[in-house]
Structure formats: structure tokens, C-alpha cells
């Protein structure tokens, strides 16, 4: 089954709220070799004006991944994980993610373009906080290989 071009414009429900924990931020910071104290020490983050530790910039992927799971779960998507290559990634921030944030993400597919036997799929996750204010938009370009 090829990638379904009708994914563009399909409405997806927002993901369940994700509560960003301080220890999760510390764990993620250690994993990406983030040594700056704003990621691990609440006092250092407060000096910068944040209520708690600041997540490293690519932490938004943890939230975006919930939307990619939604996409893979669509029965008619034509997207198979084992034929998927992550080609590009981009984040556009209004503010950084901070421990204590309760975040939801809304998936949209902005493009499906045929490439050889496969397709290039551009997926966007708009991530907002509990007040509905924009935090970050995460955009992935996935290259889906064609079936043999």
C-alpha cells in the first residue's frame, strides 16, 4: 500500500496531556550530554526567570513522538515503520519547555510527495501548554521507502 495522499488535511485529535517532570528533564539532559545547570538545577533555571528546570531544545521530540504514533496507527496511512527514514527535523519555539508544563500536541500532515516508489511525508506537531498557548512546533520530514 503506497502512502495515502489523503492524509493531508486530515483532522487528528490532540494527544493526551503530557506532564513534564523534573527528573525526566534531568534524565533527558544527561542523555544528550547537556551540561548547563539550567537543565538540572531549579535554582539556576529560576535565575533565568523560569519556574523550574529548562528542557533541552530537542526534548520536544518526546511530545512529537506521541503524534507520530497516531500517524502510524492510521490503518490507511500506508506508512510502515521499517521502511521509514527520518530525513529532516525542525523545531520553532515560542518558549522553551519547562518542568511542570502540561503539554498537548496536535498533528497535521502538510505534505505527501511521491519520490520514486516511495514518498516524502511532512508532519507537523503543534505543541501547546495547559493554557492553550503555543510552546513549540515540531516538523519532521519522513522518507517512506516503496515496497519491493
Amino acid at each position: 500500500m503506497p502512502v495515502n495522499p489523503d492524509l493531508v488535511g486530515r483532522a487528528f485529535p490532540p494527544t493526551a496531556p503530557y506532564l513534564v517532570g523534573r527528573e525526566k528533564v534531568r534524565e533527558f539532559a544527561r542523555a544528550v550530554f547537556a551540561t548547563d545547570p539550567q537543565h538540572t538545577d531549579p535554582a539556576a533555571a529560576q535565575v533565568l526567570g523560569y519556574p523550574d528546570v529548562v528542557a533541552p531544545p530537542t526534548f520536544a521530540m518526546v511530545i512529537q513522538d506521541l503524534t507520530l504514533q497516531q500517524l502510524l496507527a492510521e490503518p490507511d496511512s500506508g506508512i510502515a515503520l521499517e521502511r521509514t527514514i527520518h530525513a529532516e527535523q525542525r523545531f520553532r519555539y515560542t518558549r522553551p519547555i519547562v518542568a511542570g508544563d502540561e503539554l498537548t500536541a496536535q498533528l497535521s500532515i502538510s505534505g505527501v510527495r511521491a519520490v520514486g516508489k516511495g514518498a516524502m511525508v511532512t508532519s507537523e506537531a503543534e505543541i501547546v501548554d495547559a493554557a492553550g498557548s503555543h510552546v513549540v512546533t515540531a516538523t519532521s520530514v519522513l522518507l517512506i521507502g516503496g515496497e519491493e
Binding site: 547537556a34 533541552p56 531544545p57 530537542t58 518526546v62 527514514i85 527520518h86 519555539y93
Partner: protein, 130 residues
């Protein structure tokens, strides 16, 4: 801030332990990032670092220089070449961050991210508030 200035650089030594740690922290448990047999079966040259790990450690190189990660307004990369992480020797990833462009409100920081002589991220650019 002048175009061409190197604002930060570092070398990170990746090991298999680092890949397992990132898998746990991120939730990305694709076995090509920790199992040699699976990597070989799908035709890869070896166990690979997660692209998002490389992207994540690259931008962290500039955070101490920025002082506040909240100055980052946009960050994008292309994943152009894999980083093969040897079971015994691991892999070195070098990051050099240079000012690429400056305007009134923002600057573009260009990251050169390499494994040996190979550049592994394309167009790795961070737009920051000045």
C-alpha cells in the same frame, strides 16, 4: 557577534551505553541503535546513533554560550550520514558552532557536526535571539 566567529565547540565520545541511555530517555527503542544482529539484517554498516541524539547533543554545545536556551527560536537539521558506534571503541562526534548571519534581532548559528572526516548533519542551523 561577527559572521565567522566560532562561538562554541566540543567533542562528544559516544558509546553503546550512551545509545541505550538515549533510548530510555527519549522512548526511541528502535533496535538498530543497540543490536548488531538487527543492524546487519537490515543492511546497515553497524549499530547507529539515533539521529535525534546527534541533533540534541549538537545544539547543547551552544547552550552554555547562550546562557539561556530560551534564546533559541528555531533549530533544524537534515540527517545526511549515519554515525556508526563501535561496540568497543564507540564514536567521536565533533561539533563546531559558527556565526553564519546576523540581523537586528537574531543571529544564525551554523553547526558543523562530524564523525571523523564525515559531516553527518546537513544545514544544521540555529536561529537565536540576540
Amino acid at each position: 557577534m561577527q559572521v565567522g566567529d566560532v562561538v562554541a565547540e566540543r567533542t562528544v565520545h559516544l558509546t553503546r551505553e550512551a545509545l541505550v541511555r538515549y533510548a530510555g530517555a527519549s522512548g526511541d527503542f528502535n533496535p538498530i541503535h543497540y543490536r548488531d544482529d538487527v543492524a546487519a539484517r537490515v543492511g546497515l554498516p553497524g549499530v547507529l546513533a539515533h539521529g535525534m541524539l546527534t541533533m540534541g547533543l549538537a545544539v547543547e554545545t551552544i547552550v552554555p554560550w547562550l546562557g539561556d536556551a530560551g534564546r533559541i527560536v528555531e533549530y533544524g537539521v537534515r540527517f545526511t550520514r549515519p554515525v556508526v558506534v563501535d561496540a568497543e571503541d564507540g564514536a567521536e562526534v565533533t561539533v563546531v558552532a559558527k556565526v553564519g548571519a546576523v540581523d537586528d534581532d537574531t543571529a544564525r548559528i551554523d553547526l558543523t557536526v562530524a564523525h571523523g572526516d564525515t559531516t553527518v548533519l546537513g544545514k544544521a542551523q540555529v536561529r537565536v535571539r540576540r
